[in-house]
């Protein structure tokens, strides 16, 4: 029973993923008084790319072909950690958030290598910038999660969510506010959204993620695009599960499982609306302002950890 639920959660994260960037793009279009593309377009695009032939640069080696696969596989593993509609996860009590963060790093590491293997300046540009952003994002990411883990006295996500579920929403602590803010900022950077990276542009002066994927085509590109969609979805689900889990089904409220997907859709909908508003209202940061952005996130998460001393008694 439990394992079926866990597999269903993983499938929701993986199969629902292409919808997330599509809905955000649609909402942005609405905000900018355009009509926007169909919500099913990403699925059609993935299907198309998966059937196309692949173009590889003449300089490339096996690493170029390996990179999308590793990235996709690592992202798949990440989905096995995040509770979506039920307070459990496939890797539930065994894995913890350190493993989750480092699996993301594994995917990024290989994608950067794949980008460098193309032998063009754009790949190097993307990889170099990604190296800067991700190396600075890791500390606030982990510290924010550490703050919650200290309060919950557990390091695996399912138990952390279960702990939050028992708390009173109107009695949240400063730790939660600080940790949420820093994690939200980090997730913007991690998933390559505004104001750190612009997901819609191919302009070489600004691109990070796009720069790395530039040489990829066909099925490899499909894997990369899908993996980044899954990553975005999983990160949003992580935010929801850690900070707004109320409504999720648990062992004591087993029947909630039928309502939980609807509530989840509502919550992620709100997050997507927020994201599209941020992306419409905010300009992309200059490259060298990104460290300041992440520095603020680091400071907030460090404060969150410090405040646990008073909250936890």
């Amino acid at each position: 029973m439990k394992i079926t639920l866990d597999v269903i959660q993983v499938l929701i994260l993986i199969l629902g993923a292409p919808l997330v960037p599509a809905i955000i793009a649609r909402l942005k279009a609405l905000l900018q008084r355009r009509r926007g593309a169909s919500l099913w377009r990403p699925y059609a695009e993935l299907f198309k790319l998966l059937r196309k032939e692949e173009l590889v640069p003449p300089t490339s080696s096996a690493v170029f072909r390996l990179a999308p696969v590793v990235m996709f596989g690592a992202t798949l593993c990440v989905t096995a950690f995040v509770p979506v509609v039920h307070v459990s996860a496939l890797f539930g009590s065994r894995g913890d958030f350190f493993l989750l963060v480092y699996l993301l790093a594994l995917g990024r590491f290989f994608l950067s290598l794949g980008a460098l293997d193309g032998g063009s300046a754009f790949g190097g540009m993307g990889a170099s910038r990604e190296a800067l952003v991700s190396s600075l994002a890791e500390a606030p990411f982990l510290l924010g999660l550490v703050a919650i883990a200290i309060l919950a006295s557990h390091a695996d996500l399912a138990s952390m969510v279960a702990w939050t579920l028992q708390q009173d929403f109107f009695n949240i602590s400063a730790v939660h506010i600080l940790a949420f803010t820093s994690l939200a900022m980090v997730i913007l950077a991690e998933t390559g959204r505004m104001p750190v990276d612009n997901p819609t542009t191919h302009l070489e002066l600004t691109m990070i993620h796009e720069g790395m994927a530039l040489e990829y085509s066909g099925p490899s590109l499909a894997l990369i695009e899908w993996a980044s969609a899954i990553k975005l979805h999983a990160m949003l689900a992580l935010l929801i599960a850690l900070f707004f889990p109320w409504g999720i089904a648990s062992a004591s409220a087993q029947r909630g499982i039928f309502v939980a997907p609807l509530i989840y859709c509502g919550k992620i909908g709100v997050l997507m609306i927020l994201l599209s508003m941020i992306e419409s209202a905010v300009a992309k940061l200059r490259m060298y302002l990104v460290p300041d952005f992440l520095g603020v996130a680091s400071a907030l998460s460090a404060l969150a950890v410090i405040f646990t001393m008073w909250v936890k008694r």
Partner: protein, 662 residues
């Protein structure tokens, strides 16, 4: 005297490395004699692995007591801690030796090769003596020999003035370290009345507080300098890069770990934890070491120097674990202490593997592409796929990515830091969890550093003719690389077989500790993660699609040249820019001719990292020493009458001293 099989193996290991192999090489300088000696070195290390494994996995001791032959008590013995480090030495020495066969053959003349191998064998022996010593005397002999033999190996590679200067700094700092280590032993002497480890251990708990604190500090300085903790790391990036690659691999992979061994032996085995501040001091030094180490590494373009600085960083991570463990011990929490100690020891073991793998990889690169400057490499993956695959495994391990061994130990360190939050009502409750941020930053920067290292060396287009005409490394080198790579991968996916005895070891060193559940859970999850990744890989491979080679997008221009690629310098530029305060670069732009600013014929640009804080730290010491030496020189007049006067004065003062002593 009845010898157990493990003891026979141990004696064989000592005898063949210390006597047989060097004697055979030096007595008959023929190819067959050398081949026999090399086979002896490799074979005895395999035996050493078995001996260490038996002692490590099953609680069995091996003792070789030579006290009746030596003026001072000289005894060697293998307990659990020694067994771990003996295993580390022998397991790394086997692939490194196999690699060294082809490497020394290519790089050194016939005559020098014999000397190389003789020193190499003795160098291995000296480290084995250090970890198995069970008297202070044996330990110090091994410690000193280790320094001198490695310096000899460095000097054999060449003897330019710069190299001599670097070796001088190396020897100088190592003797400061050796003095501090010797002081540790002698501070025990009034209480233990003997330098045997058993007596020292027995006296460890009854020491007065002041002596205990002095021993802690002295051990920290002595072993810290040998390990390369900042600011005592000065010798490391000088000495490691100039040694031949297999020797660099041994120095970085194993020799640094001897300091970890010594520190653990003193702090945990002898003293059973230090005073309360000691853990925090270690933590602070470790955090600074890790951060600065990796920041310096990322700015380097010379692959060997980059690896040397990354060794500094990894030593930081190891000491972060040790410091955490000491903090837990000081607060009376043995379970957390055991977890942190397991993390540190496991990282020690892992670092030995991936760092020697990477240094050997560098050797293979310099052998094929005739350069280790990242800005002159590129495109090697297509030309040397096996080396590339092994080095990629090493890079992933050192970056701490899941499924590779570096991750497991970093993960354990993370979890032990997180467990610090359970130390309610202490400062550690906040300090340890905050250290997670430091370690995460170190980890993130390490990943960036090794994306750069692997990406610019092995991927893309070749940046020089040397790299363009590179060929796969010879068979022997590949065997060494593949063995080490397989080791990294195996311990990365199935860490359980090493973690279980490590936990037992931690329980021996920290009485009263249970089994930390983290060590069990990580061993359960990793194979599943690997299975998912492997499954994805197979699925994608099954749907293998058509592929066509097409030119890289060049914005419509006819084609790309290697000069249009990102170089190693450019790759690290954003990070160097952000952390400019750390590097304090000294930049110089020269345009020629000077009187025509708009039409320069040549522009040269140079940017050197200044080591301002190193200068500020070391300059006062150096100045005091030099001025002292100048003052002492006044005694040295060269006049025989004055010297006779000195002798007379010395005699008179000694006589008066004896007179008043009664």
């Amino acid at each position: 005297m009845q010898l157990a099989p493990a003891e026979i193996g141990f004696v064989f290991l000592l005898a063949s490395l210390g006597l047989l192999a060097p004697l055979v090489i030096m007595a008959r300088r023929t190819k067959t004699a050398r081949a026999f000696a090399i086979a002896l070195i490799v074979g005895s290390n395999v035996v050493g692995c078995l001996v260490a494994a038996v002692c490590f996995w099953r609680e069995s001791h091996a003792v070789v007591d030579l006290s009746s032959f030596t003026p001072f008590p000289f005894a060697l013995g293998i307990d659990r801690l020694s067994a771990l480090f003996l295993l580390l030495i022998c397991a790394v020495a086997v692939p490194v030796s196999i690699f060294a066969v082809s490497y020394f053959d290519k790089h050194h003349s016939e005559q020098r090769r014999s000397w190389m191998w003789a020193f190499y064998s003795l160098f291995l022996l000296s480290m084995i003596v250090v970890v198995t010593a069970s008297t202070g005397f044996a330990f110090l002999i091994g410690w000193e020999l280790m320094t001198l033999l490695s310096a000899g190996l460095i000097l054999m590679e060449g003897d330019s003035a710069e190299r001599r200067h670097n070796v001088f700094i190396y020897l100088l700092m190592m003797h400061v370290s050796a003095a501090a280590v010797a002081a540790c032993f002698f501070l025990f002497l009034p209480y233990s009345h003997s330098l045997s480890f058993g007596a020292i251990r027995a006296s460890g708990t009854g020491l007065p507080g002041g002596v205990r604190a002095t021993i802690c500090l002295s051990a920290f300085v002595g072993f810290g300098a040998k390990a390369g903790l900042i600011p005592l790391h000065l010798w490391l990036p000088r000495a490691h890069p100039i040694a031949p690659s297999p020797v660099s691999a041994l120095m970085s992979g194993i020799m640094l770990k001897m300091a970890v061994y010594g520190f653990v032996r003193f702090m945990f085995d002898f003293l059973g934890g230090g005073p309360w501040w000691c853990g925090y001091v270690v933590l602070l030094a470790a955090a600074v070491t890790g951060l600065l180490g990796i920041l310096y590494a990322i700015a380097e373009n010379d692959l060997k120097r980059l690896l040397a600085y990354s060794s500094v960083e990894n030593i930081g991570i190891i000491f972060l674990g040790l410091g955490t463990s000491l903090v837990f011990l000081a607060h009376g929490a043995p379970l957390g202490a055991a977890l942190a100690l397991v993390a540190a020891l496991f990282h020690t073991f892992n670092h030995a593997f991936f760092k020697s793998l990477l240094f050997l990889g560098t050797g293979a690169i310099s052998n094929s592409a005739h350069s280790v400057n990242l800005n002159e490499l590129g495109g090697l993956q297509r030309r040397m796929p096996l080396t590339g695959a092994a080095v990629l495994i090493g890079c992933c391990s050192i970056a701490g990515l899941p499924l590779f061994n570096g991750f497991v130990s970093e993960w354990l360190t993370f979890r032990s830091l997180l467990a610090g939050s359970t130390l309610i009502d202490t400062k550690a409750q906040i300090i340890l969890p905050l250290m997670v941020g430091t370690l995460a930053l170190i980890g993130g920067l390490a990943a960036a550093c090794f994306v750069k290292a692997f990406g610019t060396a092995f991927l893309g287009r070749p940046r020089s003719t040397g790299a363009e005409h590179a060929e796969e490394a010879p068979f022997g080198m590949c065997v060494g690389l593949v063995l080490l790579g397989a080791g990294c991968l195996a311990t990365g996916i199935f860490p359980g077989f090493l973690l279980r005895p490590l936990v037992t070891l931690a329980q021996v060193l920290i009485p009263g500790a249970g089994v930390p559940e983290e060590t069990l859970s990580i061993a359960r999850i990793l194979p599943w993660t690997a299975a998912i990744l492997l499954g994805t890989g197979t699925l994608v491979a099954l749907f293998k699609r058509r592929e066509r080679v097409a030119r890289t997008w060049a914005c419509g221009l006819p084609g790309l040249s290697s000069r249009m690629q990102y170089t190693s310098t450019v790759f690290s530029k954003p990070i160097r820019f952000i952390f400019a305060q750390v590097y304090r670069p000294d930049r110089k732009v020269e345009e020629l001719p000077a009187d025509e600013p708009y039409f320069p014929v040549s522009i040269s640009y140079r940017s050197v990292r200044t080591t301002s804080y190193e200068r500020a730290l070391y300059r006062p010491f150096v100045e005091v020493f030099v001025s002292l030496a100048y003052r002492l020189r006044r005694l040295q007049t060269g006049n025989i009458q004055v010297y006779l006067l000195y002798i007379f004065l010395a005699l008179v003062s000694l006589l008066t001293f004896l007179r008043f002593q009664r």
